[in-house]
């Protein structure tokens, strides 16, 4: 890291800003977290969708279950097969079993769930159950 202390000597704020920039984006490092997969949630009037990035998982090894208002995505990420004398030069990917429950704002009609898996991205579209939809009450004029 290069700190331009000399030419920014009379502007400590500029120096601070460049310091903050370096701290905020450490080069060549990765964030990691315990939640997998991370999901994006999309909503509309009568439906919602959950998308998740699941690279390297066979669609057959993926399990999606629904119960009341809880949708669970689970499966397993397989370890890469290696021979005995293979050397790992870099290992950034993770593996193992995973399970991610997502609570939805309404009860799921299991006949209205549709899951698609394309290029490692899962998209589950969920329709809202008919009896769960809000009913409109008409106001009568007196």
């Amino acid at each position: 890291m290069f700190y331009p202390t000399l030419y920014k000597r009379n502007d400590p704020f500029a120096l601070m800003r460049s310091l903050m920039r370096d701290v905020a984006s450490p080069p060549n490092t990765y964030r990691s977290q315990t939640v997998f997969p991370v999901v994006n949630i999309w909503q509309g009037d009568d439906a919602m969708a959950i998308t998740a990035e699941l690279p390297g998982i066979e669609p057959s090894a993926l399990e999606i279950t629904v119960k009341d208002d809880l949708l669970t995505i689970s499966g397993e990420r397989a370890v890469t097969d290696t021979a005995k004398d293979d050397v790992w030069l870099r290992r950034e990917r993770s593996y193992g079993k995973f399970s991610r429950p997502v609570q939805l704002p309404f009860n799921i009609d299991e006949n209205k769930v549709e899951a698609r898996f394309e290029n490692g991205v899962l998209c589950v579209v969920i329709g809202r159950a008919e009896e769960d939809k809000p009913r409109k009450i008409e106001v009568k004029a007196a």
Partner: protein
């Protein structure tokens, strides 16, 4: 089999200049394994179709780029976001022990596998110094 909570690496934005659309470009997570006949690289690039991958080798720098088809469910709006969608970009400097004409790449389920076989003439040539 381990039965504990482990950390998962998350893709991070690549250190590239800004894009026109304002979307991030991501640095794909990679595994690199060396075996007796070469090196194989495994990169996670979810959302990239096999024909949208671009791999170039120029002056020992292997650049891998992938263009995504952003997922956009019809008539729905994004309300909660845990990950971003964007193109992928990452470059590696290779040693000269690889045969550039024999590099193979395969894409399936969002995983790109690049195989770099070792060149046959990679054995170092020793130069004998003669005493005058």
């Amino acid at each position: 089999m381990k039965n504990e909570i482990t950390q998962t690496t998350v893709k991070t934005p690549a250190e590239t200049p800004e894009t026109f659309q304002g979307r991030h470009t991501y640095r794909p997570v990679a595994d690199i394994i060396e075996s007796s006949n070469g090196v194989s690289m495994i990169l996670e690039m979810p959302g990239v179709a096999p024909d949208n991958i671009d791999i170039t080798l120029e002056k020992r720098v292997l650049s891998i780029r992938g263009k995504i088809h952003p997922v956009q469910p019809e008539k729905l709006d994004l309300t909660y976001k845990e990950y971003g969608q964007g193109d992928y970009e990452r470059a590696f400097t290779l040693s000269e022990d690889f045969d550039p004409n024999k590099i193979e790449a395969k894409m399936s389920n969002g995983i790109l596998t690049v195989k770099l076989p070792k060149a046959e003439a990679a054995q170092p040539k020793k130069i004998v110094v003669n005493a005058a």
